[in-house]
Assembly symmetry: C2
Homo-oligomer: 258 residues x 2
Amino acid sequence: MNILLVYAHPEAQSLNGSLKSFAVKHLEAAGHQVQVSDLYAMKWKAALDGDDRTDRQAEARFNPVWDSQQAFAQGTQSKDIALEQEKLRWADTVILQFPLWWFSMPAILKGWVERVYAYGFAYGVGEHSNTHWGDRYGEGSLAGKRAMLLVTAGGWESHYSPRGINGPIDDILFPIHHGILYYPGFEVLPPFVAYRTDRFDAAHFPALCAELAHRLDTLHNTAPLPFRKQNFGDYEIPQLTLREDIAPGRSGFAIHQK
Amino acid sequence: MNILLVYAHPEAQSLNGSLKSFAVKHLEAAGHQVQVSDLYAMKWKAALDGDDRTDRQAEARFNPVWDSQQAFAQGTQSKDIALEQEKLRWADTVILQFPLWWFSMPAILKGWVERVYAYGFAYGVGEHSNTHWGDRYGEGSLAGKRAMLLVTAGGWESHYSPRGINGPIDDILFPIHHGILYYPGFEVLPPFVAYRTDRFDAAHFPALCAELAHRLDTLHNTAPLPFRKQNFGDYEIPQLTLREDIAPGRSGFAIHQK
C-alpha cells in the first residue's frame, strides 16, 4: 500500500532518525510505496498566517477559517500546503512520527496539521444540520485511510501509566488521536510508544526495531481504536453530548470509545 | 504586579486581538506593569533546532536536551530565547492567550514553550534522587508565580462539556495546565474560555469583556487548580505513580488534583 510518514525531529543522527530509517527500509522491503515528509529537512513553515493564501489582498483582515476556505476552494493555497494534501490523498496509511515534547507533538508538526488541514479538506466538510454536524469524527475526506502515531518519550512508562504523574498516555494522545486523526475520517491504530529514550541504550535498538517491525507488518489488520461515530445516533445533535443511556453517569475521554 | 501576556493570533483585527487590547488596557488602568509577547508580530521562530545555540559546532550532532543545557548554562542561547526567559523572571503572573486550534495551542506558541523552556530553566532543575525527582510539578524556577490561559474556541460549550464529543475542556487543557505550567512551578488559575467564537456576535463583546475584567481583577486571589505536588509524599518515587491509598482504584488526569 501507499504509506506517508510525517516525521518531526531536528537531528538525523538521533534515535528518531534511526527509527525513521528503519521504518522506511522495512516498509519498502515489504513492497509498500513510501513517501516521507521530513518537516525539519523541508524547513516546513510552522506558523499559519495570511501568507498561506497566495491571492490575499495585503490590507485585508485575515480570518484563519475564511481565508483557508477561500484558498482551498479556489486553488490559491500556498504550494507547500497543496503538496502535503496531495500526499494525504495518495496515502492509504499515514504515520506521524515525533518525540513527545511538553506532552504533545513538536511545534513544527502542529503547524503541519494547522496549515495542511484546510477548511473544505479536513474540516468544514459535509452538511451541517440538526441531524448531521458535518462529515467529521468517523466521516470526512480522509475516511478509509488508517493512521498511527510513532512516539518517543523521555520519561518512564510508569510516569505515563493510568496513575502516573504525567497522566495516562492514552489520555495525553487523545486530542491527537481523536481530535486530529479521527476527526477528518482516519481509522486510528493504537500508538507505538518508546519510553525512556533520553537515556536510550543502543544495545536495545534491535529489540525496539523488532517491536516496531511487528506493528508495521500489521498496519493493515490491526484493530483501530473503537471511537464512536458522531452522526449515527450516539450523540445528541447539535449539543454533541453523548446520549444519556450510553456510558451512563460517566464522563471524560474514555466514553468516546466503545 | 508585573504581568506577561504571551499572545498567539495572526490577525490584530480579530476577536483575540480585541480581547488582548482590552486586557492590556484594563490591567494597566489597574496599576499593573504589562509586557506583551505578540508572537506573530515578533515573527517568533517556532521550530526548536540547532540554531538555538549560538556556539554550536556546525558538524556536531544536535541533541535537543543536551544542547539546551549547554546553551543555558554557558549563556549561549539564541537572544530571542534569553529575552523571553527574562520576561518570565520579571513576571508575577503570566497569561497565555490563544485560539484553540486542533484541541491545543497554535504551533507558534508551542514553539515558544519548546524553545524558552530550556534545560536548567524549566526542566532538568534540582536534585534527582530516589526521594526527589527534580524540582517540578509544584516546585521549580517559576514557583511563586501564577499563570492563566485565555482561550477562544470555535465550538459550542456543550461540545466541550463533561460528555461532549470533543472531550471535557479541563481534560483538553490538562497537558498545558499541568504539563507546561504546573511543571516548572506556576500556580495555575482556572482558564478563561470563550466558546463559539467562529460566529461571535459583536453585540456580545461588552459582556465578554466584563467577564474577563472580573478574572483580571482577581488574578491575585483566585484559588489555583489544586494539583498535587510531586515530591511531598503523594507519589511513589521513582515510579511517579500516585500512592495506592490516594484516590484508590481511580485513574486519569483528575486524580492529580486534590
